[in-house]
C-alpha cells in the first residue's frame, strides 16, 4: 500500500515537504494505518469475517468432504428428505447432503466470482488507462465502446453471450467479465486523467519518460487503490451474476455451485413439493457472501478512495 504516494515518490526529496504532508491522515501511514482504519469500521470487519469463514470452508472442503459424499452413484441418503439425522440440511433428489453441497458449491461460486473479477478488472483497467492516457481518437473510440457496453442491459447480454459461447464455467466467467468491465474502465480513465494532470507526470515526461513508462510506473500505481475498491465490489456482483446465470441453466448443469443447486431444485420440482431445505441454503449462502464482499468493499473504499478523503 505504499505506492499511492505519488508526490514523495516521484519528486526529488527537496521539493517534498510543502506539498505532501506525511503526517496526520491515517491513509498515509502505510499498511498498518490501513489496517487500523479498517478495524475501526465495524461493518467492514464483519464483512471480512464472513469472507474469511467462507474462504476457509471452501479451501478446506476437500479435507472433510470426500468425492464419495458428492458422487451420485456412491451416496445412499433418502431422496429429497427434510433435515434429519446425518443430514442437517436435508438431502437432494439423488440423496446427497445439502449441507455438503452448499459447502462444496462455495468453491465454484467463489472461484468463478474471483476469476470473473480479475478478468473484469484487467480488461477495464487496461481500456481505462489507455483511453485516459492517449486521449484523442483512441480514447474517444474506447470510451464510445465503453458507453455502448454500459448502455447494454447486462443480464440479457450475459445470457446471449453464454448461449453463443456455449455452456460451462469458462463461458460464464467470460460473459460476466464482458458485461461488467465497462464501469471499471470509465472509473480508471477518469482517475488517469486526474493523475496525468498533476505536475509530477509533466516532470517525468520532461525527464524523457515515454507513454508506457508514464502509464505503468506513474499512473497505474496511483489508480491502483481505486481499482482495488472497484474490484471488491465487482466480486459481489460477479458472484451474483454467476448464480443468476447458472440458475437460468447456462452454467455447467452437472457441476456443483449455488446457482446450479437452485436451478436443479427448481427444475426438479422442489418448489411444488415444498422442499425448502433444498432452496433456502444456497440462496442464503449467496446472500451472505455477496453481503460480505459489499461490506468489505465499502469499508476499503471509505479508507482508500482519494475523493472521500478530500471531502472529509
Amino acid at each position: 500500500m505504499t505506492h499511492h504516494e505519488p508526490l514523495t515518490k516521484a519528486d526529488p526529496p527537496v521539493a517534498a515537504p510543502p506539498v505532501a504532508p506525511v503526517t496526520s491522515k491515517p491513509r498515509h501511514n502505510g499498511f498498518t494505518g490501513f489496517i487500523r482504519s479498517f478495524l475501526r469500521i465495524r461493518s467492514g470487519v464483519a464483512g471480512l469475517g464472513i469472507l474469511v469463514v467462507f474462504a476457509l470452508l471452501a479451501l478446506c472442503a476437500p479435507l472433510f468432504i470426500s468425492h464419495n459424499d458428492l458422487d451420485v452413484i456412491k451416496v445412499d441418503g433418502p431422496s429429497l428428505h427434510s433435515p434429519t439425522d446425518g443430514y442437517p440440511l436435508g438431502t437432494d433428489q439423488e440423496g446427497r447432503s445439502i449441507l455438503l453441497l452448499v459447502i462444496w458449491g462455495a468453491r465454484s461460486s467463489l472461484s468463478i466470482g474471483l476469476m470473473a473479477t480479475v478478468l473484469t478488472v484487467v480488461l477495464g483497467s487496461a481500456v481505462g488507462l489507455i483511453a485516459g492516457h492517449y486521449g484523442g481518437w483512441i480514447g474517444k473510440a474506447l470510451m464510445h465502446l465503453t458507453d455502448w457496453f454500459i448502455a447494454l442491459p447486462g443480464l440479457p447480454l450475459a445470457i446471449s453471450l453464454s448461449a453463443v459461447i456455449g455452456q460451462g464455467t469458462a463461458s460464464i466467467t467470460i460473459a460476466i467479465a464482458i458485461t461488467s468491465w465497462s464501469s471499471t474502465a470509465r472509473l480508471v480513465r477518469a482517475q488517469t486523467l486526474a493523475v496525468e494532470a498533476k505536475p509530477f507526470i509533466e516532470r517525468a515526461r520532461a525527464l524523457g519518460a515515454g507513454g508506457p513508462q508514464v502509464m505503468l510506473r506513474h499512473v497505474l500505481p496511483n489508480v491502483t487503490p481505486l481499482i482495488l475498491v472497484s474490484s471488491t465490489l465487482t466480486v459481489a456482483s460477479a458472484i451474483l451474476s454467476e448464480a443468476t446465470l447458472t440458475f437460468l441453466g447456462l452454467g455447467d448443469p452437472t457441476g456443483i455451485s449455488w446457482g446450479a443447486m437452485l436451478n436443479s431444485a427448481l427444475s426438479g420440482g422442489a418448489v411444488t413439493s415444498g422442499a425448502w431445505w433444498y432452496l433456502y441454503p444456497p440462496g442464503i449462502a449467496i446472500l451472505i457472501v455477496v453481503l460480505g464482499f459489499t461490506l468489505t468493499g465499502r469499508a476499503v473504499e471509505t479508507i482508500l478512495n482519494p475523493r472521500s478523503v478530500k471531502t472529509r
Binding site: G95, Q167, G168, S180, L240, L250, V271, S273, G274
Partner: protein, 614 residues
C-alpha cells in the same frame, strides 16, 4: 436425427428461452389471464403442451404443442383408439384393392368447415398432393406420404390413394396428433406461394374438429370454442384455453390455486407432491417414449465415407457392449424417475406392447460392471496408470464426449450417474451440455461420441424405426440425413421394408421384434428407461379424464390429447379454490429472492458507477 420430428421428440426448451423462466414463474403465480371467462358452458383450462407452439401452419409445425392444437381444429381420415383399433373419422369406410396398392376412402357426407363450405374428398386429396409435390409443405409430414404414388378425388365423397409399394400403415397416415391434418383447400390455395411464411393467423381459423381456434397470442395463450356439431360428439365444454407456461412448477402452482384444470408432463417430484393433495387427482400414463444414449459406432455417409470426429474405439462392438453392461438402469429408474418408469431395453416403448420386444436372459445386457471389465480386458483395452483404458489400435484413451441437452433436467441427472459408472470400468466421459440445436447439428456432422436422447412415438412406430435405416444416413455431401445414430444394417433394412408391406399384424409384430433385437445387439442405441407419463387434474373442476389403474401387464391407460379434451366433462362446480400450499409460498419467495438478486446486480452496478463519476 436431428431437427424434424419433434412431434415424437419432446420439446426441449431453447436455451435462450430459459431466460423468460423467471417471468414465467412470476406470471404463473401472480395471474392466470383470461381464466375466468365463463359464459355458462364452462371452460377447460390447461397449459400449452410441451415446450409450446412453433407455428399454426400445419405444413411446417412439429412441436408437440402445435400437433395438439391441430388435432382439435383440423380433421383426419381416421383415428386410432388406445387399444390400437382403427375407427372412422372423416372417412366412413375404406377398401383396399387385391394388389394392396390402391386404397379407396369414402368420406362422410354433409360435413362443413367452420365457415360453412362443405368438406369434400377434394380437400383431402389437395392436402396430400401438396405435401407430396411441394417441398415446403413436406417439412412436417413429408415422410408419411413417401410411398404415395398418386392421390385423387373422383367425386366429392371418394378419395383414392395409390401407393408405390403395398403400405400396411396406411391407416396411420392421417390420424389426429401424429398424422397429417387435412386443411380446407379453398382457404389454403391462395397461400401456397408463400407457404413458408404463412402464419395461419386470421381468427377464427377455418377448420373442422371438436374445437375452433378463436384466438392465439404467441407465448401467451390459445383459445378455442367448442364445435357443437362435431361428428364424434360435441365437447362437453363450451370453451378451452391453453396457457403458456415456461416452467411446469408454475403450472402446478396454477393448478393448485384453481387457475388450471389439467396439467400434463409433470416430473416425479411434482407428481408425488400432487398425489397427496386433496381435490387433485394425479395419475400415470403408460410411457410412449424411450430415454437412453446413442453411441457413435462410426458416422458415415450413404456411400460409406467416414465423417465426423467420433472416437474410433466406439466402432468396436465390445466397447459399446461394455458401456451397456455398466449402466445400472434400475437405480436410474429409482433415483431419477422415483420408480415411475420402466427399465429400458426395447426400442419401442411400453405404449406399444404389441410390438415391444424384450431380450431373453442370455441376450440381456444387465448391470454387470465385472463383466464389462472382463469384456474390455479380453478385447485388449488395458488400463493406464490413471485407471483409464487405452485403445490398443488408435492408442487413444477411452475418453468420450457425452453430449446432453442443456434444457433437460433429467439429462443432467442421468449423465452424472453414467459418468460415475463408466469411470468404474475405466472409461472417462466429458459431459458437454449443449442446446438442442447444437446437439443435433453435431450429431448430423458426426462430431460426437455419446449423446443422451429421447424419442416418443404415436400408434405407428414406422417413423421411429425409419431413423435407424441406412437410407436415413446423410448423402455423399454429408447432408440430408435423418439418422439418429448412424446405425446402418442390411438385415435391419430388409426387415424394415418387409414390415411396411406386412398386412398381417402378427407377422408385422414379429418383423418389428426382429428389428429391435438387431438394434439391441448393436448397442448403438442403448435404452435406459421408459418414463411413465405423469399428469394431474382438479377433481372439483373436471371429470372424464382417463386416469385409470395399471392393467395386469403393468401398463397404464393413455389417451392422446384429442380424446382427453373431448372426454373431459365439467364437474359440479364447488367454486372455492383450495388455498395455495406452502409450495406457492416458497415459489413466491424464491422468485422474489431471485428478482431482488437480479435487481441487486443492476443496482450495485449503477451505484458503483454513479459513486465513481467524477
Amino acid at each position: 436425427m436431428t431437427t424434424s420430428t419433434p412431434l415424437r421428440r419432446t420439446g426441449r426448451k431453447a436455451a435462450a428461452l430459459t431466460a423468460s423462466l423467471l417471468l414465467g414463474t412470476a406470471a404463473g403465480l401472480v395471474a392466470a389471464p383470461a381464466a375466468s371467462a365463463d359464459d355458462g358452458g364452462g371452460t377447460l383450462r390447461m397449459p400449452i403442451t410441451g415446450i409450446g407452439i412453433d407455428s399454426l401452419n400445419p405444413f411446417l409445425a412439429y412441436f408437440a404443442g402445435s400437433l395438439d392444437v391441430f388435432s382439435g381444429i383440423y380433421p383426419a381420415l381416421d383415428r386410432v383408439e388406445q387399444d390400437g383399433t382403427v375407427k372412422p373419422y372423416l372417412a366412413d369406410s375404406w377398401t383396399t384393392s387385391s394388389d394392396k396398392l390402391t386404397w379407396t376412402f369414402k368420406i362422410h357426407k354433409g360435413l362443413k368447415w367452420s365457415d360453412g363450405k362443405p368438406i369434400t374428398a377434394e380437400d383431402a386429396a389437395w392436402t396430400f398432393n401438396l405435401i407430396m409435390k411441394n417441398s415446403t409443405a413436406a417439412t412436417a409430414n413429408g415422410s408419411l406420404v413417401g410411398n404415395f404414388a398418386s392421390v385423387s378425388a373422383p367425386d366429392a365423397t371418394t378419395l383414392v390413394v395409390k401407393t408405390k409399394k403395398p403400405q400396411a400403415t396406411m391407416l396411420s397416415v392421417s390420424i389426429p396428433v401424429s398424422g397429417i391434418p387435412i386443411v380446407p383447400k379453398h382457404i389454403w390455395e391462395s397461400h401456397v406461394k408463400d407457404l413458408k411464411n404463412y402464419k395461419n393467423d386470421s381468427f377464427p381459423i377455418v377448420g373442422y374438429g371438436p374445437w375452433t381456434l378463436t384466438d392465439y397470442k404467441p407465448e401467451q395463450y390459445v383459445k378455442f370454442d367448442a364445435n357443437k356439431d362435431f361428428l364424434l360428439g360435441a365437447p362437453k365444454y363450451a370453451h378451452m384455453i391453453q396457457q403458456a407456461f415456461k416452467n411446469t412448477d408454475a403450472a402446478v402452482a396454477a393448478l393448485r390455486s384453481g387457475q388450471l384444470d389439467y396439467v400434463s408432463g409433470l416430473n416425479p417430484t411434482q407428481y408425488q407432491a400432487l398425489r397427496s393433495q386433496s381435490g387433485v387427482k394425479a395419475f400415470e400414463q403408460v410411457g410412449n417414449r424411450w430415454n437412453g444414449i446413442e453411441v457413435n459406432g462410426g458416422a458415415r455417409t450413404r456411400d460409406g465415407k467416414k465423417i465426423g470426429t467420433g472416437h474410433p474405439a466406439l466402432g468396436d462392438v465390445k466397447v459399446r457392449e461394455a458401456l451397456a453392461l455398466a449402466i445400472d438402469r434400475a437405480t436410474i429408474v429409482k433415483r431419477v424417475r422415483d420408480g415411475l418408469a420402466q427399465v429400458g431395453a426395447s426400442y419401442l416403448p411400453p405404449s406399444l406392447p404389441q410390438y415391444a420386444w424384450q431380450p431373453s436372459g442370455s441376450e440381456k445386457f444387465g448391470y454387470d460392471p465385472a463383466k464389462a471389465d472382463s469384456v474390455l480386458d479380453a478385447a485388449g483395452y488395458k488400463k493406464g496408470s490413471d485407471g483409464i483404458r487405452v485403445d490398443p489400435k488408435s492408442k487413444r484413451k477411452l475418453e468420450f464426449r457425452l453430449g446432453i441437452h442443456s434444457d433437460d433436467d433429467a439429462d443432467a441427472k442421468v449423465s452424472t450417474y453414467l459418468a460415475g459408472w463408466f469411470k468404474e470400468i475405466g472409461v472417462k466421459v466429458d459431459i458437454q451440455s449443449m442446446s438442442s440445436s447444437k446437439l443435433n447439428a453435431d450429431l448430423a456432422k458426426g462430431d460426437w461420441d455419446i449423446l443422451m436422447d429421447s424419442w416418443s412415438t404415436g400408434p405407428d412406430p414406422t417413423y421411429l424405426l425409419g431413423i435407424q435405416t441406412c437410407a436415413a444416413l446423410p448423402d455423399s455431401k454429408g447432408e440430408g440425413g435423418s439418422t439418429d445414430s448412424f446405425f446402418c444394417d442390411k438385415d435391419y433394412d430388409d426387415l424394415f421394408l418387409r414390415q411396411q408391406s406386412a398386412f398381417d399384424d402378427k407377422q408385422r409384430a414379429d418383423l418389428l421384434r426382429r428389428m429391435q433385437a438387431i438394434l439391441y445387439k448393436a448397442n448403438e442405441n442403448i435404452m435406459i428407461y421408459n418414463a411413465n407419463g405423469l399428469a394431474a387434474y382438479r377433481t372439483d373442476r373436471v371429470n372424464g379424464i382417463v386416469a385409470g389403474k395399471a392393467d395386469s401387464t403393468g401398463a397404464f391407460p393413455a389417451q392422446n390429447s384429442f380424446d382427453q379434451y373431448l372426454d373431459a366433462t365439467p364437474a359440479k362446480a364447488s367454486s372455492s379454490s383450495s388455498g395455495s400450499g406452502s409450495g406457492t409460498v416458497i415459489g413466491v419467495s424464491v422468485t422474489v429472492v431471485v428478482v431482488l438478486a437480479a435487481g441487486g446486480v443492476f443496482l450495485a452496478r449503477r451505484r458503483s458507477s454513479s459513486d465513481d463519476r467524477e
